[in-house]
Every structure is written in C-alpha cells, then in structure tokens.
Symmetry: C2
Subunit: 403 residues, 2 copies
C-alpha cells in the first residue's frame, strides 16, 4: 500500500457525518434536476489524527440505508431492475449524506466496460489536431465517455506505446489522428503499431483512424478509417489555380514518406497535368511552420534569381498544409517579397486560427472538428455505414489572386 493516494483506506478512520440541519451551505434540495445522483458535500469530520478521509463506498451507503449492496447498486448506478420507490429514496438519501461517488475503476472491472476513449495525436498544440480533438471531445461527451489523451510527435513508436497504454486502461475505442509514414526507418515501428492495434481490436477494441489506413492492419469492422480525400482535393485545388495562374508552380511538402503530404503532392501534380501544366518542383522540408519557413527562404532565392520578370514567370507556391504556408509567407516577407504580388501562395486545411492572416490564404477547407466527431462516433456505433469519408472544398482567397 502506498501512502497518500486517492481512495486509500485509512484503517479505523472514524467518519462522522453531520446532517443537513447543521449549516449546510447548499440552498436546499433544489437542483437535482438531472437524474444523476445528487452529490452534495458531506460535512465530514475525522475523529482521529488523520485529516484525510476515504471516499465512501457502496456498502457504506447500503448499510446506512439499511439495504444490501445489490439494492444500493441497482438504485444508484442504473440497472434493469428498479427497487421500490421508497427504498430507492432511502438509498439516495444515504448516498447524499455520505457524498458517495461511485468508483469507476471498480465498475469498469465488474462490468468490463470503462467508458474511456483514447485519442492519439501528433501534437495537441497544433491547431489542426486541437480542432480534431475538439470534435472528439464533443462526441465523447455526447456519448457519455471520457477521453484519454496521448501525444506522440508523430512517431509510430510512440503511437504504439500509446495504443498499449490505452489497451491497458481498456479504452473502448481509440481515435488516431495524424499522417502515417511510409519511410523505411519507420517500417519496423509501423509493423509493431499495426500488431498492437490488431491485438487491441481482437480484444474487442474499436479503432478509428483519421486520414489514411494504417498499413498492415486488416480492415475489420472494428477498425474504421475516416478517409480524407487529400489527393482529390489537392487535384481540385491545382486545377482551380491553374485556371488563372499561368506561371510555374512549386510545392512545399513534408518529408517524403509522410502519407498526407505525399497524397497532397500527388493530387496537386495530377491537377496540374489535367490542366496541361508541367509538373511542379517539390521542396521537401519539415511538415510544420518552420519547415515552411525554410522552404520559403529557398524559394525566395529562386524568385529573386529569376528576376521577378514577366507575370508568366510568377511562381505559385502550394504548401501542403496551412501552417507551412504561413511559414512560407513569413519567409517571403522576410526576403522582401510580397504575396500575392511576387508569388501566389496556397495552403491546405483551412485552420480556423489562420483565417485572419493577410493576405488571406487560399486553401482547402476541411471540416476538422467534424472529422474528429465522425471518427469517434464511428468507433462507437455498431452500424458500419461503410467507409466514412468527409467532404472538403477549395477556398480561394487573396493569396492567389492576380497581383
């Protein structure tokens, strides 16, 4: 036994509970409007040295109410059988008095169902992920679940660890957001991740993946992916841009092997090709703001070298996500170049917090919060309404308008 943990039993901790008459701070029984047990603050007094007292248990409540634990359980924690109203009332009173809060761990153990949802993201501070997290949280709340959070910096190894941790906690489902990687150095970790997920699923867990499927995990019905049509949308974007932009294109991409980035690059190139344009140069950098900045510096050089001549020479830069695009913009500005005057710039994601940037960023809008919500619901519901997919749309703004 450790010393000062939550729920620690303190032997012989006598616990006296004064009744409501003794200066209860609460204004009577007025707000037990929801059907949750009314959790009033018990004014407890420990009679021995120990100040800390123990959370009261179901049996204590039962004893105080003069019923069996079974009955107490039935009235307090929802069951098919409902004890007589008079008894139920007594139990509820007792629970009130003792300030009873059911021990979710014990319930989980007994019912084998924890009400936990695991969420895995690369970086919770990244607005892309925090928007998704928002959706997951909303769905979880709606389904009366709690969310466990894990951040992994995008490495499959840490993702695997997170899955194992969630499995240990017997999370009912896991939502994984963030690009996959097909890089060879991640191959082994990916395999392990897939194995871990597979085991998790076989033990009854459900998994929802945002974006692309995780390699090596079979598509069972306990494993869903919310497909984001990165490729098609990037293609649309390219076609749309090619309609007005006549100069060359460049792509600022994440590291090769980062699936999301790769998909967007491929789609964009195809869109250009559809429009009869030559393929764009691709610069590979880190898939974040600073990566974008680095690429921006590089591109600024090229632009300046090209003499910023005719409008047909103007470069159109597609950054494979908004945050990178912001980095690119910062770098261009840093180099004395202006968007869209000296170059057009487009991003991807349509991050809400970036909408007030100027020049307003052309991008592909993705319903991120909705994606989080869908992924969560998908792992919770039984109807496998086929592979869920989300819609996105090209959003043209000033950053790609003609100068």
């Amino acid at each position: 036994m450790e010393s000062n943990e939550m729920g620690k039993r303190i032997p012989n901790a006598l616990m006296m509970t004064r009744g409501h008459e003794s200066g209860n701070r609460f204004p009577a029984d007025s707000y037990d409007c929801n059907n949750r047990m009314l959790l009033k603050m018990p004014e407890t007094v420990a009679l021995n040295e120990e100040l800390s007292v123990t959370a009261s248990t179901l049996s204590e409540v039962a004893k105080l109410a003069g019923v069996s634990p079974a009955t107490a359980s039935r009235v307090l924690n929802g069951s098919a059988r409902t004890p007589a109203p008079e008894i139920a009332e007594r139990v509820r009173q007792a629970a009130d008095t003792l300030g009873y809060i059911a021990n979710a761990q014990a319930q989980a153990l007994a019912k084998s169902s924890t009400g936990l949802i695991g969420l895995i993201v690369h970086d919770i501070a990244d607005p892309y992920f925090s928007a998704i997290a928002q959706g997951v949280q909303a769905a979880a709340r709606q389904e009366r679940r709690m969310v466990l959070l894990a951040t992994t910096n995008g490495t499959p190894a840490e993702e695997k660890e997170a899955v194992a941790a969630f499995a240990a906690r017997r999370a009912e489902s896991i939502v994984i957001a963030g690009s996959r990687s097909t890089r060879s150095e991640d191959a082994r970790a990916n395999t392990e991740l897939a194995a871990e997920l597979d085991r998790y699923c076989r033990n009854g867990g459900r998994v929802g993946v945002v974006g692309q499927a995780i390699l090596g995990v079979g598509e069972t019905d306990s494993y869903r992916t919310i497909a984001v049509p990165n490729e098609r949308l990037a293609q649309d974007l390219a076609r749309e841009l090619a309609r007005t932009h006549k100069g060359p294109f460049a792509i600022v991409a994440g590291p090769e092997g980062l699936t999301t980035s790769d998909e967007r690059v491929m789609g964009f190139q195809r869109g250009l090709s559809d429009a009869g344009q030559p393929a764009a140069d691709v610069v590979h950098v880190a898939f974040n703001r600073n990566g974008g900045f680095d690429a921006g510096i590089e591109l600024a050089w090229r632009i300046k070298a090209s003499g910023q001549s005719a409008p047909e020479q103007r470069l159109c830069i597609f950054a494979t996500n908004d945050v990178m695009a912001i980095g690119v913009a910062a770098a261009l500005r840093d180099q004395g170049l202006r968007v869209p005057h000296d170059a057009s710039l487009a991003g991807f994601d349509d991050i809400e917090w970036l909408r007030d940037f100027r020049p307003a960023l052309s991008t592909v809008s993705l319903p991120l919060e909705e994606i989080g919500r869908l992924a969560t619901i998908a792992t919770l519901s039984d109807d496998d309404g086929g592979p869920a997919a989300v819609a996105g749309s090209v959003t043209l703004r000033r950053s790609t308008s003609s100068p």
Copy 2:
C-alpha cells in the same frame, strides 16, 4: 454483462497460442531495450465460433509459467520483491507468448492508485489552452501518467461535472486552466465547484489551478495555484506603451466578472495611471476572436468619428488576450483602418500561432506550455515549494510602433 465490450469474458473461449516458431512477423527478440515487458503479438486462434478473444490475465500467465499469480505479479508489474531470475524469465516468456497486457483498472483497484491526471480547459481548440495542454501532457508523460481531458466552455457548472467525473475515475490530480468567473449568475455553480473540489481534495486528490485561485476552496497543500501575474504584467505593458504613445487608450475586455480579463484591465489602468495618463475606456465583449471583432467595429467607428486627426488623437487599443486582438485587427482592417497607422494594438498571451501575423502584435509573453507543466508537477510532487508563479514579459512589436 453487455455484449461486445473490451475485456468481455467469453465463456469457454478456448485460446491456442502458437509459439514463436510459427511465422512470427517479428525479427526476433531484439528490441526489448526498455524495461517494459515485451509486448509481442500473440498469434491466437479461437477454436469456437467467437472470433473475439479475451485479453489474457495474470493468472493465465502464471499458470502457463507454472507459478502463482503472486509471483507473476511480482515479476511483471514492479514490486519490492524480485523473484529468482530463472523464474522471472519464465514468467516474462509466458507473458510474451500470451501477449499479456496488465489491466490498469484492476491494478488501480488493488493498489488504489490510478496514474490518471485530469485536465480541465475551456476549449481545447483555443491555442491558449492547447499550449497549456501540451505542457500538461509532457509533464504527465514524464511522470508516467495518462491525461484525461475535459472541456467545459468555461462554465463552472461543467467544470464541476468534470471534477466529479475525474473523482469517480479516481484521478490522482486535476489541473484546471481557464479564467474564473465572479459573475453573480455563476455564484451558485462556483460554490458547487468549490465543494466538489474540496471533497475531491479531502479524498486525497491534488488540484492545480492555472491563474487565479478558485473562490471558496481553502488553500491546503493538496490545492495549488500557479499564479499568472496578469495584473502586474498588464501594468508593465501599459507603462511601456505610455512611454511612446501619447494619445488615448481603449481596452477591449472580456465580460465583466471574468477574472483574467478583470485583472488585466485593472493592471493596465494602473499602469496608465502610473504614467500619468487618464484611464482607458473599456469595451466589454466576448473573450474570444469574435468578441474582439465586435469591439473592433465599434472602435473603428469612434476612430473615424474623431476624424483621425492629430497623432495625439491616435488610439491605442489593448485587447485582453491575443485572440481578441486578432479580432480587433480584422475589424479595423474591415473598416478600412490600418494598424499601427490609424491605431496601435496590443494583446496578451503571445500565442505562438499568431506570431506570423502582420503587423506583428505587441503583447505580453506567457510561457504557456511551461505553465501547464508546472501546474502538473505541482500536483504530483510533495514538496510544496510555496506558491508557484510564472514570469512573463512585455514584448513590443510593430502593432504599437509609431506610424
């Protein structure tokens, strides 16, 4: 028993485990470098109809290893007593073979310690909170804890519910971020929140609050607040601005009664007064981007009405957080006004994602991630190094430079 939950026992689900020789996908025992149990994928086959099999238990591992559950527990899940190396090895092998993952719920129940940290924020999609969440997550990982996330929209009523839910899950500590409210309509919910926290603490939980103390909760050593010197920093900011800005000031604040906003307003006014300037007008709006936008429209009107005359008439606007400042900037731009040409603008928080905005926003830098980390550590460590506080600093950028 419900039907398809994680950990559901399937009666008589015979489970056969093939050994490593049978086509194990893993490249031998090469990466059990950390002292965690090596979790290899068991190639299990259910012999009856049921496809889903149950996670294996400690007893199964013990049986397979030919030892008692006690011994298995001692070798697998860290204990003071370490069984003989030869036995330990056998147990570890068995665990490997079965793909054993300890049931954290059961452990929690037995040890009364869950390894859970609860995090309560207003809105996880808000970069202010997601930055703090990042810090909490980092600290939690370092301390080998998992974080449970709850978002509350800033209402004390939902915060109270979150605390109750965390208490039910026996989270070892709770970190609460986000401004308090002293509005009268929140008074009752605040009291209830305080009572809930109080009970939680008395049951051995620790609480860390970012910003200001929660009213009505006694400052015990199980309850810490990470003080953010909003008032002093706002005062510094005002003094700093007053040094160069000679025109009038205006404050864009959150709703009256929102403590963080109130503190920043007070500090700013005091700073102005220190500098011999008259107090600023205060506009109260929602404490978010759109609130800032609304205020910005209003202020744009005033600016235009004043005829944008002499530099001594130029307005300096202090928005009580960065996100509001961005809203103000958007509104001014919308109304054809330019920052800093037609008005100066400053924010508070120095949100990382907003640093690429132009004009660059003068603000007060706060180490948000560090704050999250500190709050978390504070609730976990025993040394009560006194009331922890964080430093911040005034950061002047273009948005308040002379036109």
